[in-house]
């Protein structure tokens, strides 16, 4: 059993309006030194796989086919034994 953590954010070239609004709101709460807030999605899941490489391949595949909208999003992931 492996545990995967997937981090999805908008590509750098795509404007992150949500992140902007959150940054302004943090600043209004006196967190003045906050910059460059990027809002994204976080997915945790468990999966069965032959080995870690296979688990990673499966995660990549899931991201490309379903979890990530690769037109505007990019992703990273971490796989560990669960």
């Amino acid at each position: 059993m492996y545990r995967a953590r997937i981090f999805i954010t908008l590509k750098k070239s795509v404007f992150d309006t949500q992140g902007q609004v959150v940054r302004k709101s943090l600043q209004a709460l006196n967190f003045d030194d906050v910059e460059d807030v990027r809002m994204g999605k976080y997915i945790e899941l468990q999966l069965e796989a032959a080995d870690k490489a296979a688990a990673e391949a499966a995660v990549r595949d899931m991201c490309e086919r379903l979890l990530v909208n690769t037109v505007i999003e990019q992703y990273g992931y971490e796989v560990s034994e669960a």
Partner: protein
């Protein structure tokens, strides 16, 4: 000097490049080539369509603004005007359906409030492949979510629309967004910039590299390569748009704004040159002052960016701070980036350095015009070879009716409009589901009816007649709601106009729309052309989506399509005739797309006049346009009332038609009405006055749909059963 390869890739041909050189008296620089290329693209410059669009009737007693501004406007009484327009966002939506559809809504809404009008309702016209295809399901679902996500957030109710599913759209879905807004007639804002020295202001969101060359992208066919050519997808920010609506309307209210234009296709290039050209002015701007969200942008990129939620405006000198203050109050950027001059030249500086210098009119008005060849396509002769007597006879009509009610083109569109806030602003007095949406005009006792329609299968079979039918049907839907049609807006979706067969379809369609509009006395006040809707070289069905606005003098006399009372008489008003050509039945039951639909404009006009007068006189309890699926489907739809369904029982005779034609034929110029039997005599009298045939065919009541055809009961179905099939069909297909 610019290499031919470069300007060709941007979309200019050699002759056009030579023309640019002649205008400038020198070689254009890279930025200038980009500006000409985008402004002379079909999408911005209408270089193929313009001569044809001249055919539209565009004037009338109500018209306050015809085509040529951001949107058209008509007088709706009491000193109020409705501003209206429809626009396509097809190509972006094919690549990223959610953002494509969302930014489509954002764009059309900006066109409306740029005119000083508060956006009061949105509509949409959608085309997809069949839902059996997985990619289509994804496109459909995401596009609908995108429209909902954007429209709901900005508080503009999405009150009506239409959707059809057909293989011809599989590789090239259509997303057309329509909007209307309300403004005092003497407060309509315009995009012309005048007054030497007046400050030019940039307001709204920051500029990034999105959608550069979006307009030229819209002017080429979709191919796998378009994926590569595409610069970053535009993403919508409805929150900023909402702030922009409020700030813009507040700023216009000060009376200190001379001219205003939204930045849509071709961004700053289009807004600077068009505003200057319209006002016979020149303009100097320094783009280093443009708020940016990306570093290192070149003048070319800044001038061509299609970042969303931005506007350009010209304020009256001395009032720039007041205007700025309003935008800043709403948390928006507002920056003076230049000023007006009087020499007709647009000069773009980047940090004081001249980056482009072009005569405004040469980009905005004196665009090249092409008179294209038109040739009748070969398929026309083939589809016309249609002998309905060769169709097998149907014995059992019940399963056919059930099949039709489940067809996604006919089934309830609830799945879509449930996701749209269609009640915001508390004007929607007839909710989606009836023939047209009805909005009240608060404080006046009057109202509006709006719809958008187009049966593109008819347009494929005969673009002229099909397009005339689209106008007739939209007008009929508005009439069935108790409104008098007042104005048309149109979105002309076609394939590649450089192909003579496509150009023929286009010209025929415009002629058909023009003929119908003239016959009904309804002007075209705005519209949009979307060409190159092809994939793998195959064009979509010609799809001229027609939006019609109608005015209801007395909102209490509005009408819906649903039966309301048991024992009401059911009447078929209008002209029966053959109607299998191009019908949904022909496709669904026999797998054929063939024949040629027909329409008699004079009969249609009489029918609409009669129906409208009947509703205005308070005679009718319901009125429903007979369209896809014919009389049998119209009867069923009138039974399905969310406020309590009814049954109906009718007796009809086929009267010289095939039996399937009598049930499912789509002959035009027919309306199914119901009324209190005591009012029947008045209706009969009225119909005679208008020279419109009328047949009393049955009565509302019971819990079944019963049709007796030529003396035998051929349909007897439980309403509950067929209603749930009809309501659930689209959702089932997606599950």
């Amino acid at each position: 000097m610019i290499e031919p390869k470069v300007y060709r890739e941007m979309g200019l041909n050699d002759v056009e490049y030579a023309q640019v050189m002649k205008i400038l008296g020198r070689h254009p620089n890279y930025t200038e080539v980009g500006m000409y290329a985008v402004m002379w693209s079909e999408h911005c410059g209408y270089k193929y369509s313009r001569p044809v669009l001249k055919l539209f009737p565009t004037t009338g007693p109500r018209v306050l603004q015809g085509p040529g501004e951001n949107a058209g406007a008509v007088d709706v009484g009491d000193g109020m005007a409705v501003v209206m327009k429809i626009e396509s966002h097809n190509h972006p939506s094919a690549v990223e359906p959610y953002e494509g559809a969302a930014t489509g809504v954002g764009g059309i809404v900006r066109d409306i409030f740029t005119m000083g009008a508060r956006p009061m309702a949105a509509l949409n016209s959608l085309r997809f492949g069949e839902l059996s295809d997985a990619r289509t399901r994804y496109l459909f679902d995401r596009a609908v979510s995108g429209i909902a996500g954007y429209g709901n957030c900005i508080g503009v109710p999405s009150v009506a629309g239409e959707v059809y599913f057909d293989d011809s759209y599989e590789g090239n879905p259509l997303i057309n967004a329509m909007c209307l807004g309300l403004v005092k007639s003497d407060k309509i804002a315009r995009s012309s910039a005048s007054g030497v020295g007046n400050p030019v202001m940039y307001v709204g969101a920051k500029t990034g590299r999105d959608g550069i060359h979006g307009a030229t992208f819209a002017s080429v066919e979709l191919s796998d390569e378009s994926e590569e050519r595409r610069s970053p997808t535009q993403v919508g920010d409805p929150f900023t748009e909402k702030l922009l609506i409020e700030a813009t309307l507040e700023a216009l209210n000060t009376g200190h704004i001379v001219g205003i234009q939204d930045m849509g296709a071709a961004g700053l290039t289009c807004s600077t040159t068009e505003m200057a050209a319209k006002g016979d002015s020149g303009m100097e701007v320094d783009i280093s002052l443009v708020p940016r969200r990306e570093e290192g942008m070149t003048p070319y990129e800044v001038m061509l960016s299609e970042s969303q939620e931005r506007m350009l405006l010209v304020a009256a000198k001395g009032h720039e701070n007041e205007v700025k203050g309003i935008f800043e109050k709403w948390g928006l950027n507002a920056v003076v980036i230049g000023r007006l001059t009087d020499d007709g030249i647009v000069r773009i500086y980047d940090n004081g350095e001249l980056a482009a210098e072009v005569p405004a009119k040469s980009l905005a008005e004196d665009t090249p015009v092409y008179h294209m060849d038109a040739r009748i396509p070969d398929y026309i002769a083939q589809v016309r070879r249609f002998d309905k007597d060769e169709l097998p006879q149907i014995e059992d009509f019940e399963p056919i009716l059930e099949l039709l009610l489940r067809r996604h083109n006919i089934a309830s569109k609830e799945y879509i409009y449930r996701q749209y806030d269609h009640m915001a602003q508390i004007n929607t007095v007839v909710l989606p589901g009836s023939d047209a949406a009805v909005l009240r005009l608060k404080g006046t006792g009057r109202g509006l009816a709006v719809t958008v329609d187009c049966n593109s299968r008819y347009c494929y079979l005969d673009p002229y007649i099909g397009s005339a039918i689209a106008v007739a049907e939209a007008a009929r839907n508005v009439v069935c709601s108790g409104a008098e049609p007042a104005a048309v807006t149109d979105c002309l979706n076609f394939g590649n106009p450089e192909k003579p067969e496509i150009f023929w379809q286009f010209r025929q369609a415009v002629e058909g729309i023009s003929a119908a509009c003239r016959a009904f006395g309804v002007p075209v006040i705005s519209g949009n052309v979307s060409f190159y809707n092809e994939s793998q070289g195959i064009a979509i069905y010609p799809t001229p989506a027609i939006g019609v606005l109608g005015v209801i003098e007395n909102i209490e006399r509005r009408c819906t399509s649903f039966f309301k009372n048991d024992d009401d008489a059911v009447v078929l008003l209008g002209f029966n005739g053959p109607g299998l050509d191009g019908s949904e039945y022909l496709k669904a039951a026999h797998g054929r797309v063939a024949g040629c639909p027909s329409l008699d404009l004079d009969k249609e006009k009489r029918l609409q006049a009669c129906c409208l007068e009947a509703i205005r006189s308070g005679l009718l309890a319901s009125a429903h346009d007979i369209a896809e699926g014919g009389l049998a489907v119209a009867l069923a739809e009138s039974c399905f009332n969310t406020e309590g369904s009814h049954g109906v029982s009718v007796e009809i005779s086929s009267d010289g038609l095939r039996q399937d034609d009598a049930l499912f034929g789509e002959a035009q110029s027919r309306i199914l009405v119901s009324l209190d039997p005591s009012k029947l005599d008045s209706l009969i009298k009225l119909a005679a006055e208008h020279d419109v045939p009328l047949m009393v065919i049955g009565a509302v009541g019971g819990s079944n749909l019963i049709i007796d055809l030529d003396g035998s009961k051929i349909i007897d179905l439980k309403i509950e059963k067929i209603e749930s099939a009809w309501r659930g069909s689209i959702e089932e297909a997606l599950a």
